[in-house]
Each structure stands twice: as structure tokens, then as C-alpha cells.
């Protein structure tokens, strides 16, 4: 549609309009600032300005002991705090060369999958809100509330849970833990159908999402995109299957993939992932092995000098921790591979040639959390 | 209904103001608007006489003039946009190709 000659020429031959989207904008999910170069309403280029939420998490790690740093990771992707904690704990365990006991692993899996559902619910609600559907957000919050209640009952916190400890768990599952999870899962089947009814077949929704922000498999791989963004482009890559961690090797589940790599496919992939997570939870509560919940780790952690990289499949994609130990109680260097940050790179590629309204949809579909992007 | 002269004076005043606009303003868009004003002044005359003579023909013509004004505005603004795109100006004294 636009050839190169038209590229430099806007509607009236005047300069391109530069529109500042954010950092205070309802749909940049926090404090992302996107400078849009516009011709009329068509995006000619984007430039992300990030760092408004930078807290120096990685630097803080160098001045805290291993246990002390654990709560900090919850503040990165604050809508999926449990997953962050899991990744960190497993990374340090790998560094220490210890393993959590089986009971702890199963409970960790349940919690993480619940967290995945919660994270996707937040994504769904805000994404729908960005595209103009008001109601799904509240339904999503309603369901998420159930999950947060389980979290609260388990560890006393709702959002930044700090649920796991290095080497296992601190808290035993409370009495009606299985029952609560089961009730939620049973209920959730019906609830997810409500979203499908509201959105999946809606022609406006399809019109707004299909063929918007298309990413091919090659582009995804080239950009390092991961998680649902990658899978929606047709790449069947999920660390839970590829490099099983926690207790994932014990459960049967499918990895949903898309075909077109557009916003609609990402929506469908995430919806299916919620169903699959629910199935994992149901399988897991069937049989939570008895036994200790804490592995053999000392009060003071002094991992041997060396370095380790461990990654898990967080709700938003591959979350990796690279930890360098110099043998002291504090890590020498921690480097985190945040999925949101990497996925955000795809924004420019996805948004070019689309309209402003699509930029909003694309930011939504990338499912970024600025806490994680900026760290 | 009042004597026709009132309407004629009003019409004349609007016409002359429009004419002043056409011949003194440099901004072509304002010139175009002044032309609309002139057309409007004509309409007042037409409708007033139509009322006086109890014949709606005048109003028919007023309607035609409105249609004509629409056509004129559309084309005029199209020209202005095209001109602005090429020359980045809307000042009439920079449009001086009507020579020879």
C-alpha cells in the first residue's frame, strides 16, 4: 500500500506528526512511553522510551544475601510474582546443587499455574479494555480474586507473595488447599466460557485483532520473543515441556500454538493456556505427595564460586536468571532475562503501517509489565 | 413582514462585507468564506422577494444557490489543499499565475 516514495510524504506534505503516547496514558500499561511517528493516523515508526520504573533490581542483588534478594524478584513482574519467585529459587538451588523435595515441587507447580491463570486474566481484562470491551476486565478480576484468595490463605500475601524459599517451601499447604484449588478449577471452566462468549466470535473483536501485529515465526525467533507471542506464530516451544522443571514432567498438558502470529492468535493461545493450566492444577491436586517441604539448605547460603543460568516458562515467556557467585553470601552478579522486555522489541515491527488504535491493541497483546521491562 | 427595504439593506451590507473580505484578505480560506457570505446575502434577497410575492420560486433558487455554494466550497477547498501541498502557503498574493 505504501511504497517508499509515499513513505516520506504525509497527508499534506507536511512533517510527520510525532505523538507522545505515555508515560501517562491509559493503555500503555504503566509508564511505557512510545513516541509514534504518524501520518494522519497511520504509524510510520515507533520509538519506545523506557526506564521510568527502573529500580536497579539487578544491582540491589549484589548487596543482598541470596535469601534477602528473593522478595525483590516479586516486584519485577508484579502480576506474576509467584513465577518470578519460582525461577529465582530454582536458579539458586541449581547453584547450590540442592533440590526441593517432591511435595514442595508439586505445590510450587500448582501455585505457579494458578499464577499463570491470574496473569493471563489480567492480560485478558486489560487487553479487552484497550480494545474497548469494558466488561471482561471485571469478570477477569472476579476470577483472579479467587486465586489471590488462595495465595493469601497460603502465604498471607496477595500480590507480591514471596511464596517459595530457596530449597523448598516455608509454609505447608493449608488444610483446604486442595479443595479451594479444585473448586476454583471446576468453576473456572464455566467462567472461561463467558469470555469466549463475549469475545471470541465477536466480529468487532476479530476485526480488531486478526491480521493486526503479525509476527512470523522467523521474526519471533530473530527478535528472541518467547512465551505466547512465540507460540502464536506457530513455534511449539515451551520450557515446561522442553526443559521440564518443578513437577511439570509428571503432568499431561498440551502446548497450544497459533498459525498466523497475529493478535487474535495470541489471544486464542493464551485462552487455551489458561485451560491447560487449569488441567495441570486439577491433575496436581489429585496426588500431592507427602513428605518434607524444605530441602537440605543451611541458614546461611554460601554457594560455591561459579555461574549458573536457569530459565522457566513464566506466563509472559522465558524468564531466565543468570547468577554469578564468588563464593560469598551475596551474589557477585545477577542478570535477569525478562520476557516482557524482550517481547517489547517486537513492537516496532508489529506496529508499523497500522493505525494508532492498533498500537494499543499490540501493546496489549504483547502483555508487558513495566516493572519487568524496567526492573 | 416588514418592508423589503430592510432586507435589501441587510443583504447589501452582507454583500459588501463579503466583497471587502474577498478583495482585502490574503488568506484564501477566508476569501472563500467571504464568497460564501456573498452567496448568503443573495439568498436573503431571494427569500425576501419570494415572501413578498408569495411565490416560492425565489426559495427554489435559494436552494440552488446553497447547492452551488456547497459545490464551490468543495472544489475551492480541494484546490486550496492541493495548493497548500505544493506550495505550503494559503496566501492569495502568492497565487499569481492568473497572468498573460
Amino acid at each position: 500500500m505504501q511504497d517508499d516514495a509515499a513513505q516520506n510524504q504525509t497527508l499534506l506534505g507536511a512533517d510527520e506528526l510525532v505523538l507522545n503516547m505515555g508515560p501517562q496514558h491509559p493503555s500503555t500499561h504503566g509508564v511505557l512511553r512510545v513516541k509514534l511517528k504518524l501520518d494522519g493516523e497511520r504509524v510510520r515508526g515507533t520509538e519506545c522510551v523506557i526506564g521510568y520504573l527502573h529500580r536497579g533490581v539487578e544491582k540491589i542483588a549484589e548487596n543482598r544475601s541470596y535469601q534477602q534478594f528473593a522478595p525483590y524478584v516479586d516486584r519485577m513482574d508484579y502480576v506474576a510474582a509467584v513465577s518470578n519467585g519460582l525461577g529465582y529459587c530454582e536458579a539458586v538451588e541449581k547453584l547450590l546443587n540442592v533440590e526441593a523435595p517432591p511435595r514442595a515441587k508439586v505445590i510450587r507447580t500448582i501455585m505457579t499455574e494458578l499464577q499463570r491463570i491470574a496473569s493471563h486474566l489480567i492480560w485478558l481484562g486489560t487487553h479487552a479494555l484497550d480494545i474497548g470491551a469494558l466488561t471482561p476486565l471485571f469478570y477477569c478480576l472476579r476470577e483472579r480474586e479467587e486465586i489471590l484468595k488462595i495465595f493469601e490463605k497460603y502465604c498471607g500475601a496477595r500480590l507480591t507473595t514471596h511464596a517459595f524459599r530457596i530449597g523448598g517451601l516455608q509454609y505447608e499447604a493449608y488444610d483446604s488447599f486442595e479443595k479451594d484449588v479444585e473448586r476454583f478449577c471446576k468453576d473456572f471452566e464455566r467462567r472461561i466460557q463467558e469470555y469466549v462468549d463475549l469475545l471470541t466470535g465477536n466480529s468487532i473483536w476479530i476485526g480488531r485483532t486478526r491480521n493486526v501485529g503479525v509476527l512470523s515465526a522467523e521474526e519471533c525467533i530473530a527478535l528472541g520473543a518467547s512465551g505466547p507471542v512465540l507460540r502464536a506464530s506457530g513455534v511449539k516451544w515451551d520450557l515446561r515441556k522442553a526443559q521440564p522443571y518443578a513437577a511439570y514432567d509428571q503432568y499431561k498438558f498440551e502446548i497450544p500454538v497459533g498459525t498466523n502470529g497475529d493478535t487474535y492468535d495470541r489471544y486464542m493461545v493464551r485462552m487455551e493456556e489458561m485451560r491447560q493450566s487449569r488441567l495441570i492444577c486439577l491433575q496436581a491436586i489429585e496426588n500431592i505427595p507427602a513428605g518434607p517441604i524444605m530441602g537440605k539448605v543451611g541458614k546461611v547460603l554460601k554457594p560455591p564460586a561459579g555461574e549458573i543460568y536457569h530459565s522457566i516458562e513464566a506466563p509472559k515467556g522465558i524468564l531466565g536468571y543468570y547468577i554469578v557467585s564468588d563464593g560469598t553470601t551475596q551474589p557477585y552478579r545477577v542478570r535477569i532475562r525478562p520476557p516482557s522486555f524482550i517481547n517489547l522489541q517486537a513492537l516496532d515491527k508489529m506496529a508499523r503501517g497500522h493505525l494508532v488504535a492498533d498500537v494499543v491493541a499490540i501493546i496489549g497483546t504483547l502483555d508487558i509489565v513495566l516493572g519487568e521491562v524496567d526492573r | 413582514m416588514m418592508p423589503i427595504g430592510y432586507y435589501l439593506f441587510l443583504s447589501m451590507a452582507l454583500f459588501l462585507i463579503g466583497a471587502i473580505g474577498v478583495i482585502t484578505r490574503r488568506n484564501v480560506i477566508v476569501v472563500l468564506m467571504s464568497i460564501e457570505l456573498i452567496l448568503n446575502a443573495v439568498n436573503i434577497n431571494l427569500v425576501a422577494f419570494s415572501r413578498i410575492f408569495g411565490d416560492v420560486a425565489g426559495q427554489v433558487f435559494a436552494l440552488f444557490i446553497i447547492a452551488d455554494a456547497a459545490a464551490e466550497a468543495v472544489v475551492g477547498l480541494g484546490i486550496i489543499i492541493a495548493f497548500f501541498r505544493n506550495r505550503e502557503t494559503v496566501l492569495e498574493d502568492e497565487m499569481d499565475l492568473l497572468k498573460w
Binding site: - | 466583497a19 474577498v22 478583495i23 492569495e92 499569481d96 497572468k99
Partner: protein, 715 residues
Amino acid sequence: MTPSGYFLEHLWLIPLFPLVTAALMLLIGRRLPRSAVSFFCVGSVFLSFVHAAGAVFQLLAVAPENRVYQQILFEWITPGAMPGPGGLVNFVADWGYLLDPLSCVMVLVVTGVGFLIHVYSIGYMGHEGGYYRFFGYMNLFMFSMLTLVLANNLLLLFVGWEGVGLCSYLLIGFYFLKKSAADAGKKAFIVNRIGDTGFLLGIFLIATTFGTVRFTSQMLSDPVAYAGILETLRAMVDQGRLAYGAPILTGIALLLFVGATGKSAQVPLYVWLPDAMEGPTPVSALIHAATMVTAGVYMVARMSAIYQLAPVAMDVVAIVGATTAIFAASMAVAQNDIKKVLAYSTISQLGYMFLALGVGAFSAGIFHLMTHSFFKALLFLGAGSVIHALSGEQDLRKMGGLWNTIPATSRPFLIATLAIAGIPPLAGFFSKDEILGHVFNRHNESLIMDRYLFLWAIGVVTAGITAFYMFRLFFQVFRGRSRVATELEEHIHESPKSMTVPLMILAFLSICGGWFALPVLWGENNTFGTFLEPALRGVKDEIGGVEVGHHTLFKEYLLMMASVGIATLGIWLAYRLYLQYPKLHSKVAAAWPRLHNLLINKYYVDEIYDALFVNRVKDLSTAFGVVDAKLIDGVGVDGAGWLARVISRISMWWDKWVIDGLVNLAGKITNGLSVPVRMFQTGVFSSYAVLILLGLAILLGYYGHHMHMIVRNLR
């Protein structure tokens, strides 16, 4: 009872259909797919044909003397009063259509054959560029031709006449990138202009003589207001103001005939037609064989009333026709281009028609026109099919043996060849025989030899030559050994259905077309002649315009046998020369090298024209050039230069001080004056608006003053 009905009332639709599609094609045809182009164009001609046929049938429904339908659409040119035969007349040229037996025949031929050729063109032009352009021109041609034959007055006829000329020009030059095609188009156009000048002068003379250009006022509501040539002529003859052989009538007839010679390619203006074969073959078939070139015949037949009163003109027509017939036939003998042979054949046959007209056998001429359009169209289309099969080869010497390879073409082609050769019972036999019969009947038996007998002899010989060269063509193309270039041989293919089906239909017509006018001696009434008779009836038979000869049975048979015999002779000769002993013809040619050269070079007519006219014009311009250079420049200018030098010396001071002073003064004044004037033209529209307002103010001031006075008086 007057003719009426849907088709007659919608006579105007007949030319309109092709016009609409022509406009469509020429405006947006480029964007249309080929299927749409063919659908619209062929469809429109078919609709025309249907309407024409319907109109003819509705016309046939009434008694013969009432078979005239006139329809005046609007008054076209109304210059008002002009001097006419009885004082001032109100000259009106209307845009009106006339359907009488004569135009019936023409309109059926034009739309029918035209439709078939259009269908054929779908196949023939299928792979050519400019498809829409071709069909647009073809439809424009159809419109012009229909206007020509349906026109109810000479001026409208002239519009059609020029229209077909234009289309002919456009279509001859259809492959305008080819220089020969473009030149041929120009040639046709220029040669036709010569004829048209005469035609136009003839129309002017008619208009001043009769005060009208309308053919007839029959079936018009107000015959007085709408005077017709026929009626006026009749009245003038009755009043004795015009008589048999009146010079003015002869002048008119000759001038019109000049036009006819141009359009119908008669001696001496025939030279454009062979070159016109540069156009696509369907064009040759439609325009340069079946329809346009017969316009002259039609026109002369249409003005038969005048011709019948102009014996000298009649003789000229007959002699020119006969000359053309034999002249062109002899040229056709030596041609090697398949289309050129057919072109000369066409000229020759047109000569036949004029021969018929010239001896007063108008219906026979028209009859031959009709049959000729069938078989000549068929011949051209067949030739096109052959060319198509041979991927563009036109040289007879590189053909041969195609009889069985392209059967759907060769069989109809044989029929057409037999028809043109005059073999009974095919169409050509009847028409040709009727012409020859009429010519012979004009022969005054008391004299051993008069001009009619001579003309008859020419006709018979021509018939023989015709048979000869046509079968020469046929044998060379279809029989004998194949001389086709080997690389072409494997590509020989039968043409598509859209091309062969029209051939078959035309073959059928070539067979049966002649049966409309079975000779009287077979116990048949001459249906065709009777049908045409009301339209061709002269003003007064007893004046002696035409002596209708009486056929005796014996003489009739004798004549038939003569023409058939000579045709057979021609065929036999062709068989001997080209099929039985294929080498023989070159020996014959070698035996009479001069004659052969003369024929091959077409009697050097083009060269003669070049030498006589074209080069004379060039010489004239060269001479002017020489005069310019030598006389004017040399003597005049140089001498004057010397003189001027002398004088200029004298005048220099005068110039410098007086003239220049004045000039400079004038310039200064102008310059000074122009400064304020220039200020007005700024190029900025609002300053023009100020001027408009200023003018308004001045006008208003002037008139307002008057109004003020009026109002004061009222008060």
C-alpha cells in the same frame, strides 16, 4: 395503407446500436475484457440486423406502391429561405431515415453481411492488439454505412459517405506502425477527396436546382413543406422547365458520378482500393468489397431519376464501368498477392455494376451488388482464413494444396469462386447474366455494331477473364503441390468456429442469393426487379430514358450460353495453365514479356499518376522554389539590396534622427502608458475581483442615475 409497426417506428435504432457501442469502445474499450468487447460490438450489429429485418418485413406487408417509410428525427440544418425552382424555398436538411425497397436491400446486405463479418472478426482479430479499437472502428463504420443507406436526403447521405471514408481510412491504417498501411490509408483518403469534391459540387447543384436535397416527399405528412427531389423534378419536367437531356441534369449526374468513381473505385480513381488491402482482412471484406465501395452504386441508383434524364451521363457511366471492368480484370490476372487479386476483382465487378447502371438496368446493378457482396465477402473471408492458416502468408506462389488441410475454408471458397465465375445456378450467374442481357438488349439491332454491343462484348470478355483469374487463384491456393514454406507447414490449422461458420452461411447465400431474380424466360417473374421497381421508377417513362428491351427466349438462352461458355473457357485455361501444366504459365508470361510486365505493373497507372500529377505538383513546388531562389532572391532581392544600400545611406540620417526619434518617442509613450495598465494585471485574483467590483460600481452608477431619474418622475 401506410407501413407501420414497431420496427419501422424504431428505424432510428438501426444505426444507433453500432454508434452506441462504437462510442463505448472508443471511450472505455481499453478497460473492457475482450469477451465484453466482442459481446457488445457483435451484439449491437446483430440487434441492428434484427431491427433491419423486422423493418423490411413490416414494409413488405403493404402494397408495393406504398412501400416507403420515412422518419424525420429532427431538423438538422435549417439555413432558412434560399432561391429555389419556384422562387424562394425553405431549405431544410433534416436528420431523417428513409426505408424503401432500395434501402431495404442495402440495409439488409449491410447489417447481414456486416454481422457475419463481425462474428468472423472475433476469431480473426482474437490475437491482435487494439481489439477494442478495431471493433470500435468497425461499429463506427456500421453506423456510418447505415446512415448512408438509410439517409433520406443527400446531405445526410454525405455524412454517412464521409463517415465510411473516415472509418475506411482508420481501418486501412489499423496497423499504423506499418508505413505501407499508413500510406495506403492516406492514399485512400486523398483519392476519395477528389471524388468527394465532385459529389459535394453535385449536391450543391442539386440544392440550387431543386431547392431541396431530400430524395422524396412520399409518406410525409406535409409534402409541400417537405419537398423531395423526385417530386420537384417531376413537377419541373411537367412544367417544361427541364427536359430530357437538359445540361444542368447532365452536369449534376456527372458530378455525382465523380463522387461515385472515387468511392466505388472506378477508373480513373480506382488506385486506392488495391492498396487498401493493407488493412485487416475482415475490413477488406466488409468495407472494401461488400459495403462501402458499393455506396457509389447505391447513390447512382438512388438518383436514377436524374440519370434517366441525362443520356450523356448514362453513357459515361456505362463506358467508365465497362472500362473499369475489363481493365481491372486484366490486372487481376497477373497479381500474386491473394488479397490484391480479390481487390482487382472487386474493382472489376464494381465496373460491372456501373455498366448495368449506365445502360439503365438499375435493378440489375443493385442485384449484382447484393450477390457480389455475398460471394466477395466470402472470398475475402476465405482468403483471410487461408492467411490465418498460413500465419500471415499472402503470396499465391507460396501456397497450394490446402484443399484438404483446411476443408471448412476451401469448400465455401470453391462455391464463391464458382459464383463469381458465373456458373449456374449460383448467385453470380444470375446477376451477371442479367446485366449482360440488359446491355445486349440496348443494342440497336438495325446496326451491326453500336456502343452497346461493344460494351456487351467487353462484359463477356471480362466474364471470361474473371473466371480465369479466379480459378487461377483457386488452383494456386488449394490444389496442386504445396509450395508453402516448410517452417509454416506444420502450423497450418483450420480457423476457429467463429470464422468458419460465417463462411458457411455466406456460402449458402452465394448459392441461393441469385434465386431472387430468376430470369423471366424460366417462367419466373423477376421478383427482385419488381420489388425494386417502385424505388427506381423514373420521372417519366415515355420521355425515353430507358428502353426496356424485350427478351426473346432464344436470345436469352444464347446469351446465357455465351457467358457460361466463356466462363468455362476461362476455367479451362486456368486449369491448363496452373494445375495441369504448372510450368506453362511462366512460359506464357515469357512469351509476351511486355504484356506480362504491363499487367504485373498494373499498366503503370500508379507510375503514370505519379508522373502526371504527383510529380507535377512536386515539380511545381520545385519551380516555385527556383523562382524564389533565383528570381526573387537573385534579381529582386539582391538588386533591391544594392538599391537599398544606396538609399539607406541617404535615409540613414533621416532614420536616425527623425524616424528613430519618433519610434523612441512612441515607445516611451507606450512604456509610460503601460506602467499603470500593467499594474492591473497582477495575476492575483483578488485584484481582479477589485476590478470587477469597480466595473460594477461604474455600471451601477450609470444605471442608477437613470433609475434615480425614473423614480423621481414617479414620485
